[in-house]
């Protein structure tokens, strides 16, 4: 297990004492691996991303990068540790300072961590980075608004790469982009992973994109991981009812499947994280729910009928896409 680069232990984040955005998350990320995190809005996936990169302080629990607990580090040590875990943000229009040139934006990591690249070589380093992400190195004097959404996302990726991190947390990196541009950015992320041996946490709501890029997938609901496993396990043999409903709801770009898919339409909305249901948090929308679900919280574990960890008392393989 020495190749674990990132690990969280019982990570908890409560806002204002009561909103349980992230409520006990255990994750492991290995070198060169992509862990996809999927879930709907309000499930806590973005808060999880912020906790991982240190933008939020956890209420309790640990985030360990290469075995070192980030939440206990201070000052210079924390700054050095931060170099190893970077993030690509969702919105390419707000994640770049509109008053800085592209060169300044991508070069800022070098200014903050001045020990990484000596001053005289920084411009060259920035131009190399732009080249790496497929942008013209001569454009360092331009401003963000002169670029398209996809190009801006490349700038954000270049900034994340600058300090040569081992881990990059991608928070919905392509959901603001058009389909044809999405593919360019996903291809870039995959190429960079191969070239630099990067590990990704890939957070998204688009299940087909996550499936394409991930080695393992974690499904989140109301602050907890409800099911976790290899991509094939999650997509082809989901055992948690929520995962099954989520997968069945994704429209498939093939009209021949129309009317042949067994679509599980969930009733109602996600409950408020300020006041989650007792026991299993999904039970209020679950068709399998029984008395035990309200009393006993199902743990995320391998079960009799679930070969991979699933947090459901009645976990059972059921692939909604094979229901024709």
């Amino acid at each position: 297990m020495s190749d674990v680069v990132l690990e969280t232990k019982d990570l908890v984040k409560h806002f204002k004492g009561e909103i349980r955005a992230v409520d006990g998350v255990d994750l492991q990320l290995r070198r060169g691996e992509t862990l996809g995190v999927v879930g709907e809005s309000g499930c806590g996936k973005s808060t999880l991303a912020k906790l991982l990169v240190g933008l939020e302080k956890p209420t309790s629990g640990a985030v360990a990068v290469r075995g070192q607990d980030m939440t206990r580090l201070k000052g210079g040590e924390l700054r050095r540790a931060r170099r190893n875990i970077q993030m690509v943000l969702q919105d390419p229009y707000t994640s770049l300072n509109p008053r800085m040139t592209v060169g300044d934006i991508v070069g800022e990591p070098f200014e903050i961590h001045s020990e990484v690249v000596p001053k005289g070589k920084r411009q060259q380093a920035v131009q190399d980075l732009l080249d790496t992400v497929g942008l013209n190195p001569d454009h360092i004097n331009r401003y963000p608004h002169q670029f398209s959404g996809g190009q801006r996302q490349r700038i954000g990726i270049a900034r994340a790469l600058a300090l040569k991190p081992e881990i990059i947390v991608c928070d919905e990196p392509v959901s603001a982009l058009d389909v044809s541009i999405q593919a360019q950015v996903i291809n870039l992320l995959e190429r960079l992973q191969d070239d630099f041996g990067l590990s990704y946490i890939f957070i998204a709501h688009d299940l087909s994109v996550v499936r394409h890029i991930s080695d393992r997938v974690a499904v989140m609901y109301l602050g907890k991981i409800v099911e976790q496993g290899h991509d094939v396990a999650i997509y082809d043999q989901p055992t948690h009812p929520y995962t099954q409903a989520l997968l069945s709801a994704v429209p498939v770009p093939d009209p021949r499947l129309r009317g042949h898919r067994k679509q599980i339409v969930l009733e109602g909305d996600v409950p408020s994280p300020a006041n989650p249901p007792s026991g299993c948090r999904f039970r209020t929308r679950c068709w399998k729910a029984q008395h035990v679900c309200s009393e006993q919280e199902p743990l995320l574990q391998i079960r009799e009928r679930s070969p991979h960890p699933s947090a459901c008392h009645f976990a059972e393989i059921n692939n909604p896409l094979r229901g024709r």
Binding site: S95, T101, I112, N136, Y143
Partner: protein
């Protein structure tokens, strides 16, 4: 690898946001009219002799209410002073007081607004209540009391009025600064810099301030207009500039007593005052429109 994704149509010159705003301004008639007017008034304030060679203090009762003649385009007032010369020279004091008071208000507002917006929490709560308290002072009442207290016997009241206006009007600047710092602080690019481990000073001066400054500049322009008007008001009420000081407010105050007999000494300084205030307010509006991020 060259850039395969850049279309030929995108402008190839580096253009900053302020560059784009300038581009907008260049096409705005309001901007040109108001800044032309503002420039004219500034010239008047700093180089009055360019416009008139007459001495504004040279008054002879025998010329009382005499009509326009020679250099005295606007005729003469009750005291037999040259109205044109006094109006031109009055621009100096009016503008000077307005500028200094606005600058003072700006410095206070910038400091408190930035602190409240950046630190939030208790600092914000205390400063914001402080702003509320100052806002709660009825402006005229406060100004009358303050400038009365501050001015010594026999001085012309410039320092007193400047301090009074500065201390009473910084709140709007502070509020605007606070809210734009709060807005900028929540932006993703600030989060990105924090994630890199940027220091608070870098966050503030590199990322937040440059993006929060435009609304502040606009408020400054509007405040300048308002302060010039306020100085005139105070002088008119007799608690502003006094004695031998020449300003539009003093002129209006004196002329209105005899307005029925001779309207010209009242009309001219009033017109100049209105035009000045309007010029700065329009200038502020034009700049605000150009910097409005919704149009970008």
């Amino acid at each position: 690898m060259s850039d395969p994704t850049l279309p030929a149509t995108i402008d190839t010159r580096p253009r900053s946001l302020s560059g784009d705003a300038w581009d907008d301004l260049r096409h705005s008639k309001i901007f040109w009219v108001s800044s032309g007017l503002a420039l004219l008034i500034l010239l008047m304030a700093f180089f009055p002799t360019l416009f008139t060679s007459a001495n504004p203090a040279d008054c002879t009762l025998s010329r009382q209410y005499a009509g326009p003649s020679g250099g005295a385009l606007f005729g003469f007032d009750y005291q037999g002073c040259d109205v044109f010369a006094r109006t031109i020279h009055g621009a100096g004091n009016s503008l000077w007081v307005g500028l200094l008071a606005t600058l003072l208000a700006g410095v206070i507002g910038l400091f408190f607004g930035m602190a409240a917006g950046y630190f939030g929490g208790a600092v914000d709560a205390i400063l914001s209540r402080g702003i509320d308290i100052v806002l709660g002072i009825p402006f005229l009442l406060g100004a009358v009391v303050f400038s009365g207290r501050l001015s010594g016997a026999g001085d012309d009241g410039v320092t007193a009025v400047t301090l009074t206006l500065g201390l009473l009007t910084w709140t709007s600047a502070a509020r605007v600064m606070r809210s734009s710092v709060v807005a900028a602080k929540g932006q993703d690019y600030v989060a990105a810099a924090r994630m890199l481990g940027a220091s608070p000073a870098r966050l503030m001066f590199r990322h937040i301030l440059p993006n929060a400054f435009a609304p502040f500049i606009v408020v400054m322009a509007l405040l300048l207009g308002a302060n010039i008007a306020a100085e005139a008001t105070l002088s008119f009420l007799g608690v502003g500039l006094k004695g031998d000081a020449i300003s539009w407010g003093v002129q209006i105050a004196e002329a209105q007593k005899h307005a029925r007999v001779a309207p010209a000494p009242l009309i001219w300084p009033s017109t100049f005052l209105a035009a000045t205030v309007l010029a700065f307010i329009m200038l502020g509006d034009a700049v605000r429109d150009a910097f409005d991020p919704k149009l970008r």
